[in-house]
Amino acid sequence: MIDPTLQTVTLGTAAIGAVAGLVGTFAVVRRQSLQGDAISHAALPGVSLAFLLGGRSVDMILLGAAVTGLLAMLTVSVIVRNSRLSFDVVLGGVLAVYFGLGVTLLEYVKRNVSGATLHGLDRYLFGQAAMMRNDDLEAILALGGVIIVVLLLFWKPIQLVAFDADFAHTLGFSVRRVDALLAALLVAAVVIGLQAIGVVLMSALIVAPAVAARQWTSRLATLVVLAACLGALAGVGGTLLSHWLSDDSLRIPTGPTIVLVVTAMVAISLILNLRSGR
């Protein structure tokens, strides 16, 4: 029998993994895998800003993270559309500048807001799954549910754009709007994982499940479901593994363990795919 805390954490990481796998599939298929990386870095100024404006609850801080994450994606799309700079330069530059802005704001908060018990940057960067409580879990499940509903509602245009953006455009679908919707979903998926998994490692949970699933299927619907399952499995596996390996003298952090589990899934899928010669 596992104890209730571990149960909460396992359920939470499973939900985070499932949602990340689900939404990440589209980022991978659209060849914009590193969007998740940019969003999670760009969330830092939002976290600091929310704190600076008096938000102390988890909800407010996550809202701040989502706002600057979205703003960063908007910045990228405005610059790419209006200059000859390529996507990778703009994404990298925006990521770094938002992160730098976040660092500056964080420094300001640390010095000027009295009683600022803002979690250390470490916690934000690497996440702390063990700190997850029941209300965190409820928030994750609620937001995850919303993401799934939105995906189902807009499945047709999303599927079309993922499959062939130019074709979708000729049929009269607005590729730009679908991309914006997908970016918003990605922001939501990153934000709910931020606390538990951390900035740097969230980008792996976005990319890896989809890449692993891609080795088994070419159908989009199957791919999405499989990626969600693999993401959830990685969440459960990583959490339990880090729990079993840890004892009183040694704590193995949960976030990195989850990432290594999901990376192992990718490695196994790749090797099997290569051997079967598909």
């Binding site: 990778d88 938002y98 010095r111 470490d122 690497f126 290594l260």
Partner: protein, 384 residues
């Protein structure tokens, strides 16, 4: 300004100078996100090297970091070559995995060693000057000397391989067919990037190195099309911003790395809006100018079509033009007064009439092959 402050400014300027050359290569080869990955894997590189040398101050730690950068590039390349994974996904897989290994190794084995993760990620330009070293009798910050040496190495690399680099940048396939070994050059480039990242992260931290790789070059790219000016311009943007940002950080008494990066972002924004040729304002003005000149031509042709016909009084009357051409009255008034001042039309009793030069201009527009084919197109597409 005190000596430590001056030394810190020197360190930051040297960092910007060192980053400018690898930055241009990364941007033009569309590999900025590989640079991102390299900057993230410094941590595991340092940790693993620490296991071998057991000394937190050893230079081998930095060698380990540089090596892990090259290993990351190689891994991404292998995954990509398998054709099962696209490049962006490969990058997104490799660096978090390496980073996770680094974090787990730290938490398993280095509980007693103070390996400050904040410092790896955010750097500590503030502390860079407490480590002086003697060079030719001068006492300079160690970080500055290292960064200047890296700048020199980068410059030599550029001068030695300028022709090869140009070829690889503009046409990698052609370079390969000439036997220029893009593979070797690619890894030489990545080694340069990796070394520079390692040298620079002490000053600004691993994430913000990325800012100095990407943003100055992106800014310079908006100002020039040519390769050599791009190198110079991005170095200037980087160095000036680094100096300005550091001084600003001293004034505000806040983080140097954060302030400098934010300033870089602001500089880019200003250039993005106001660049003389490709800025937003220039684009807007050019588009407006194009619309104006097209509409002027349309107005002249409209007048020519109805010239000396019974409908002229209706079609060419200044008051009816907005209705016939489906433009707003303000737009028509602006166009008419513009054309009047250019001597293309005159207005008599509220009727617009072409002058000789206006008529010539309208006839010429109609005869221009491009123009005729545009007006023909709707008819053709209806037939097909």
């Amino acid at each position: 300004m005190s000596r430590p402050e001056l030394e810190t400014i020197g360190v930051m300027a040297a960092m910007a100078a060192a980053c400018s050359l690898p930055g241009v290569l990364l941007v033009l080869r569309r590999m900025v996100l590989v640079g991102d990955a390299i900057s993230h894997v410094l941590l595991p590189g340092i940790v693993i090297a620490y296991f071998f040398v057991n000394d937190a101050a050893s230079p081998f730690l930095l060698l380990g970091a540089a090596l892990s950068g090259v290993v990351t590039v190689a891994l991404v390349e292998v995954l990509q070559r398998s054709r099962l994974i696209k490049e962006d996904a490969a990058i997104g897989l490799v660096f978090p995995a390496m980073f996770s290994i680094g974090v787990i190794l730290v938490s398993m084995n280095l509980r007693n060693v103070h390996l400050d993760v904040d410092r790896v990620l955010l750097g500590s330009a503030e502390l860079a000057c407490i480590n002086p070293t003697e060079v030719f009798g001068w006492s300079l910050p160690r970080a500055m000397v290292v960064l200047l040496a890296i700048t020199l190495i980068n410059l030599v690399f550029l001068l030695l391989f300028l022709k090869e680099l140009q070829l690889v940048i503009f046409d990698a396939a052609l370079a390969a067919s000439f036997g220029f070994m893009p593979f070797l050059l690619h890894y030489a480039m990545m080694t340069i990037v990796s070394l520079t990242t390692v040298a620079a992260f002490e000053a600004v931290g691993s994430v913000l190195v990325l800012a100095f790789f990407a943003v100055p070059v992106a800014t310079a790219r908006l100002l020039t099309h040519r390769l050599l000016p791009l190198f110079g311009l991005s170095a200037i943007v980087g160095i000036v911003t680094a100096i300005g940002g550091t001084m600003l950080a001293f004034q505000l008494d806040t983080t140097i790395a954060g302030t400098t990066t934010t300033l870089l972002g602001l500089v880019f924004c200003v250039v993005f809006c106001f660049a003389p040729d490709s800025g937003l304002v220039a684009q807007y003005l050019r588009r407006r100018q194009q619309v104006r000149s097209l509409h002027e031509t349309m107005l002249l042709i409209h007048l020519l079509t109805h010239e000396k016909t019974p409908a002229e009084i209706d079609e060419a009357s200044e008051g009816n033009l907005p209705r016939h051409l489906a433009w707003t009255a303000t737009h028509v008034n602006a166009l008419v007064s513009d054309a009047k001042s250019k001597g293309l039309i005159i207005v008599q009793n509220g009727i617009c009439r072409l002058t000789d030069s206006g008529r010539r201009s309208a006839q010429q527009s109609i005869r221009t092959p491009g123009f005729v084919s545009i007006t023909d197109r709707p008819g053709k597409s209806r037939d097909s």
